[in-house]
């Protein structure tokens, strides 16, 4: 009886903790799942098709990398109550602020195009014309924000995040070779053929899709808009950790799908993979297409919001999802402007959309150190951060990430100029 009472008590305690987590969960999971955007899904499917399961270990390594970077934004947002753009202007002055904003606008806009590329390609598999997809997406994206409550937006976004997990059941449906998957996951190895330019490009794209400048801006602004306090920081960190775990699981799911069903096939995008899957298992093909649309949708709403928040902070516009359209007209105007501009590019006939998608990931990762350096400097400011400033270990981890990205970007650029250096 005593045992049952204890068990019941623990069960109630667990429920209470879970309820509290669900209340505070949001920015971390959303940013990490949106990280698996259309460009991400394209990158993972191409990785799996070209290199089977050989690079899953690399994706697993990127999980903690994403966590370390994004966790800093939780602390910074909770303590300063400022979005990232405002924090840079406030702490480093207008010059560095404008440069950071320029980076953000450029990379965000390019990435937004890739989201619409993914969405239109996904629904075209079901026979939906591009124009219809773009217009329907605009309508749903608009409907999500105009109700004027951050909470509602967040919960709808979490539903789209849940849909992003569709790759996990799909990966189980195809009976992948478990032994090979586990080997590729836990034993670091290079694919047969060794280190080539093509492999390097994909590794760069994988880094670029796991951590991107917009994620830093988005999560910090979302933490502020949600009203998270210092006391909520632990929950925000757990939220980010759960998100980074899920992002890796989804990425691995995509690689497993293409690595099992179409290994060695030279596909260039996720939509082509979905079409080929249709011929093998129509349900898995449909799952991949639905997941691709969802990924693009999630990415588009988050990236557009990241830019709108940043502009609102800097220009002093009302910039909260808790405000109605008439209360924050410029904030919403920029949000829609961003969506419309990116959606329109996709409608241009014969644009090299697939090449743009992979290229954008690589540009994003190349510009990432500029954003990360400021983030690390802000997190080391004792006056602002107090007891929440970076520890030595956090500094070591984050500075290592920045150095690694700069080195990898440099080597990639050299290999781009001199293609024969790495072979392939």
């Amino acid at each position: 009886m005593n045992f049952l009472a204890k068990l019941f008590y623990k069960y109630k305690k667990f429920l209470k903790v879970a309820r509290l987590y669900l209340l505070i969960a949001g920015p971390g999971i959303i940013v990490m799942m949106a990280d698996n955007d259309a460009g991400g899904i394209t990158t993972y499917t191409v990785t799996g098709a070209q290199y089977k399961f050989y690079l899953i270990w690399f994706l697993i390594l990127l999980g903690p990398v994403a966590y370390f970077v994004q966790e800093m934004t939780v602390r910074l947002g909770s303590v300063t109550k400022r979005g990232h753009a405002e924090a840079i202007f406030h702490s480093f002055g207008a010059f560095w602020g404008w440069l950071s904003l320029l980076d953000l606008v450029l990379v965000d806009w390019l990435t937004m195009i890739t989201e619409f590329v993914g969405m239109t390609a996904a629904l075209s598999i079901f026979g939906v014309p591009r124009l219809v997809t773009v217009i329907l997406s605009w309508i749903v994206m608009g409907a999500m924000v105009i109700q004027g409550r951050y909470w509602t937006w967040e919960k709808i976004a979490l539903v789209f995040c849940a849909l992003n997990l569709i790759y996990i059941p799909a990966a189980f449906m195809i009976n992948p070779p478990v032994h090979e998957v586990l080997r590729g996951s836990f034993i670091p190895q290079l694919p047969p053929g060794g280190f080539t330019n093509a492999l390097f490009f994909l590794l760069m794209a994988n880094i670029g899709t796991t951590i991107a400048p917009w994620m830093v801006f988005f999560q910090q602004s979302a933490v502020v808009d949600k009203g998270m306090q210092e006391k909520d920081m632990l929950w925000g960190q757990i939220d980010t950790a759960v998100g980074s775990f899920l992002t890796v699981v989804v990425a691995a799911g995509c690689v497993i799908l293409t690595g099992t069903l179409i290994p060695g096939q030279n596909i260039t995008d996720a939509a082509t993979a979905a079409i080929r899957f249709m011929g093998i298992n129509k349900y898995v093909g449909a799952f991949l297409a639905i997941g691709l649309f969802d990924a693009g949708f999630l990415g588009a709403i988050c990236i557009s919001l990241a830019s709108s928040w940043a502009f609102g902070e800097v220009f002093g516009w009302a910039h909260s999802l808790n405000k109605k359209v008439k209360e924050a007209p410029w904030f919403y105007a920029y949000y829609f402007f961003d969506l419309m501009l990116a959606g329109t590019v996709v409608l241009i006939p014969r644009a090299p959309l697939v090449l743009i998608t992979l290229f954008v990931q690589v540009v994003a990762v190349t510009l990432l150190p500029a954003a990360l350096v400021f983030l690390i400097l802000l997190l080391n400011d004792s006056e602002t951060m107090g007891e929440y400033k970076n520890t030595r270990f956090q500094n070591f981890a984050n500075i290592s990430i920045v150095v690694m990205i700069i080195v990898v970007s440099t080597v990639y650029s050299i290999s781009a100029l001199f293609p024969n250096i790495l072979g392939g």
Binding site: F89, A94, W96, L99, V362, V363, T366, L377, L417
Partner: protein
């Protein structure tokens, strides 16, 4: 109307520059130079990527 738009935008930029004219975190000239070099270097790398992108398109 267009003239007004540009005038208002320019005024907004000036106001922001004034508001954030004094950085709260003081950086040494060396730190500023390092950040500037890093920024220039990263843009240079992006330039190479753009070059490769254009070359790939023309293949």
């Amino acid at each position: 109307m267009i003239f007004n738009f540009f005038r208002n935008t320019s005024a907004a930029f000036k106001a922001i520059n004034r508001k954030y004219s004094t950085p709260r975190i003081k950086m040494t000239p060396l730190a500023r130079l390092s950040l500037g070099v890093l920024r220039f270097y990263l843009l240079f790398l992006v330039g190479i990527l753009v070059y490769k992108f254009v070359m790939t398109l023309h293949k």
